[in-house]
């Protein structure tokens, strides 16, 4: 793997989604992986500093909003020596298509990683049709 591929950058959200925020905090866009499986779609988001209590997932119409609040821990009586990442909240918005069964969405957080399982609606699940040989 070339060295360039190891580079990462925590990106700040370009504009606050859905109006102004009450907390004057930096807001970052969490990086995500989206995987489509046979019966569902999985969204995995890196949200270091977030746990199950501080993450918030809402669905309004077809809009899925992921947000997470992070309490920055700044060590006292010390001087910053290296600063490679900023600390702040997370927010990202996705538009879902009708193929997702919104009632059955499940989410979990582990080690600062959010995993959302979006099950596909029954009618749209890909079905395998067995082909029989004619007798």
């Amino acid at each position: 793997m070339p060295d360039m591929a190891k580079d990462i950058q925590k990106k700040e959200a370009e504009s606050p989604e859905r109006g102004e925020r009450t907390r004057t905090r930096r807001v970052y866009t969490p990086v995500v992986d989206i995987i489509e499986r046979k019966d569902d779609i999985i969204v995995i988001a890196d949200m270091p500093g977030v746990d199950e209590k501080s993450v918030d997932i809402t669905i309004e119409k077809n809009v899925l909003t992921i947000s997470g609040a992070v309490e920055a821990v700044i060590p006292e009586n010390r001087t910053m020596y290296v600063n490679e990442y900023g600390i702040g909240d997370y927010q990202r918005v996705f538009t879902l298509t009708d193929e997702v069964d919104k009632e059955k969405i499940q989410a979990s957080v582990k080690n600062g990683m959010l995993k959302i399982v979006l099950p596909k609606a029954e009618a749209l699940k890909t079905r395998k049709i067995a082909v029989k040989t004619e007798a």
Binding site: V31, I35, G86
Partner: protein, 143 residues
């Protein structure tokens, strides 16, 4: 970057320090550029250094931390989801693979006293400065 041992004299209000603190706050406003995974922040005082790293999605015991002299090395890996037949990535933004990252601290570390904790995907390591590396106070005797 400069830091001084004056900090050990305590929390007396010092306008110059206050100014420094503010200018650092402004400097933080400029977003850090792309860095090697995982991104780290380091704070130092005269007696120790605190290193934090964002490594979400890995098991705490899978991170290998080693210290030699004044450098700290973090090793580990973050593996992609195993895909079965018919499964596909729509987006793949998260960094994956094996990482080795070494950072240099401004002083030698007492490797036996290093402590690390991992919570919510954030690794925090406290690295005390080696006694031998600490500045010595020399008493001035009157003749």
């Amino acid at each position: 970057m400069l830091w001084s041992d004056f900090e050990r004299f305590g929390r007396i209000f010092d306008p110059w320090r206050e100014f420094e603190r503010m200018s650092r706050a402004v400097a933080r406003g400029t977003s850090p550029s792309a860095v090697e995974f995982p991104a780290v922040n380091i704070w130092v005082s005269g007696n120790d250094a605190i290193v934090t790293a964002e490594i979400p999605g890995v098991a705490p015991n899978s991170i290998d931390i080693s210290v030699i002299g004044n450098s700290l090395t973090l090793r580990g890996s973050r593996q992609p989801e195993a895909l079965k037949e018919g499964e596909a990535y729509h987006r793949r933004e998260r960094w994956q693979g094996e990482f080795t990252k070494t950072v240099d601290l401004p002083f030698a570390i007492d490797a036996n006293k290093v402590e690390a904790s991992f919570s919510r995907g954030v690794l925090q390591i406290t690295l005390p400065r080696a006694e031998a590396d600490k500045p010595k106070k020399i008493a001035v005797k009157s003749a």
